[in-house]
Symmetry: C2
Subunit: 289 residues, 2 copies
């Protein structure tokens, strides 16, 4: 079983996690969470989102959060950016990296951002150009890469096309995201292998949910296919709006634990991660009461 010796875990709880939780975590607590994660050894954290506050009220305090977090050398904080306006806010906040998301299903892209895939890509190309000038890294995510809640199956050719477009416009990394948690390991292995084969040199990351207990099995398949960057969410924060009661992103502590058990280096202190998760759970529970 051939696995990479080293893996980068990108913590997405503060953004993808919290935006799907039914409570608002106070700005100070968000910053505290991010600082705890930095102390636990994360070098890459998706910290917040520059979408319109009316859309995602949970993250309405993006600027304030970023003012409160430490940014030690070597730590790369990123933020989701849906459009040029969001990009301008991101620039002003001094963020090191932005994340742009386009869906591999036309219908999902329309429901998600009220635009066609083509319109998204046109906007993203302009943002990527601007980011190059501003010295900001761009991460491109392909949502619903393994299945869509509206159209069902997704053509791997579509995923390859979008990954290619994002890579060509200058993204430093392309993320294949199983947005609704419907991927299976064989599919993951096939799609990842196809993308790596068709787009030589592409830096690929994978983003899984744990909807039916398959999250870590999908990680294992992606590792075997050659992925060495994974998103995960502290405490399994986040859910899936299309699967009530289902778990959200794969839990960071589960991912880090599995990688450590398999002697794959992550540079992350599992004990500290678990402390972060425990603390966060208590805060979250308090807010839900």
């Amino acid at each position: 079983m051939k696995l990479p010796a080293q893996v980068t875990v990108v913590e997405v709880g503060p953004r993808d996690g919290l935006q799907n939780e039914p409570f608002f975590l106070e700005t100070g607590l968000k910053a505290e969470l991010i600082n705890c994660l930095i102390e636990a050894g994360f070098k890459r954290i998706e910290a917040t989102s520059f979408v319109r506050p009316e859309w995602i009220p949970q993250l309405r305090d993006a600027e304030e959060v970023l003012k409160l977090v430490g940014r030690p050398p070597g730590v790369r904080l990123s933020a989701l950016v849906p459009n040029l306006k969001g990009y301008q806010r991101a620039v002003s906040s001094g963020i090191a990296e932005i994340n742009m998301v386009v869906s591999a299903s036309e219908l999902h892209n329309r429901k998600n951002v009220n635009r066609s895939i083509e319109e998204s890509l046109r906007d993203f190309a302009r943002i990527a150009g601007a980011a190059r000038g501003d010295g900001i890294l761009v991460r491109g995510s392909v949502a619903v890469s393994f299945g869509c809640p509206y159209q069902g199956g997704v053509d791997p050719g579509k995923v390859i096309g979008l990954a290619s477009a994002l890579w060509d416009m200058g993204c430093c990394e392309v993320v294949l995201a199983d947005t609704i948690g419907c991927a299976n390991p064989v599919q993951v292995y096939r799609v990842v292998s196809a993308v790596l084969e068709k787009i030589p040199g592409i830096c690929l990351a994978a983003h899984f949910h744990d909807t039916r207990g398959m999250g870590l099995a999908n990680v294992l398949a992606a590792l075997q296919a050659g992925v060495a960057v994974f998103d995960s969410s502290i405490g399994g924060l986040g859910g899936c709006p299309y699967a009530p009661g289902a778990p959200g992103n794969i839990a960071t502590e589960d991912l880090v634990n599995m990688l450590a058990a398999m002697d794959v280096e992550t540079g992350i202190d599992l004990t500290r991660v678990i402390k972060c998760a425990d603390r966060l759970q208590r805060k979250g529970e308090k807010r839900l009461r």
Copy 2:
């Protein structure tokens, strides 16, 4: 990614699951559960246990349960048998298969059955001999094959030795069990590969728990190493006495769902399995109130 085209799922919820739950499921409901599982397509079900009722009061009704369940042709019900006395009860009940468990850690075997490994094996050889005469199949399980709550790591050489002893005494199948849910996929792949290499022709099964979300990842690794028989427990029944709050056996519905998604044939009707699990959950919750 090379996987077997077909996998046998052995449902162990009625035994390994229920014995670790804090409630007693009435005899009639146990039989109903087993009958539902048969209708869902399971050909092999670990139905109960012939241990002393004082030890496992949850399964004190072994004989009564077996009187109430259907035994259509092609369906193989089995029962755990700890010793010769249990074997006699099993014979009288007309069971088709027995399961004998020995631990790969001396300390765990003592804590579990109050005997040394050697004493267990001696007893098992006699039982296996009797079973051959009685036309009863014998399944041999190696508990704590991937780690022990008392001694920690377990030498794969010990696992190979026990698997070999069980196979040689006439077991039709040997189960490598991750009794406390501490295995990781790389370890699973290595240990399974080593056992298959050292004991040519052995029929191997695997039994995983989902303690830290790694259950299905371990299944994937075992599949890749060549295992095509897996234990699982309806609704994820069962727990781990050494990990409070942790999930139990891998949930049958998760396993069947993953296998179906990967086009691995199981012959099991997932919709019926989920109905079984839902019904059982309601019964269990009622009993816990």
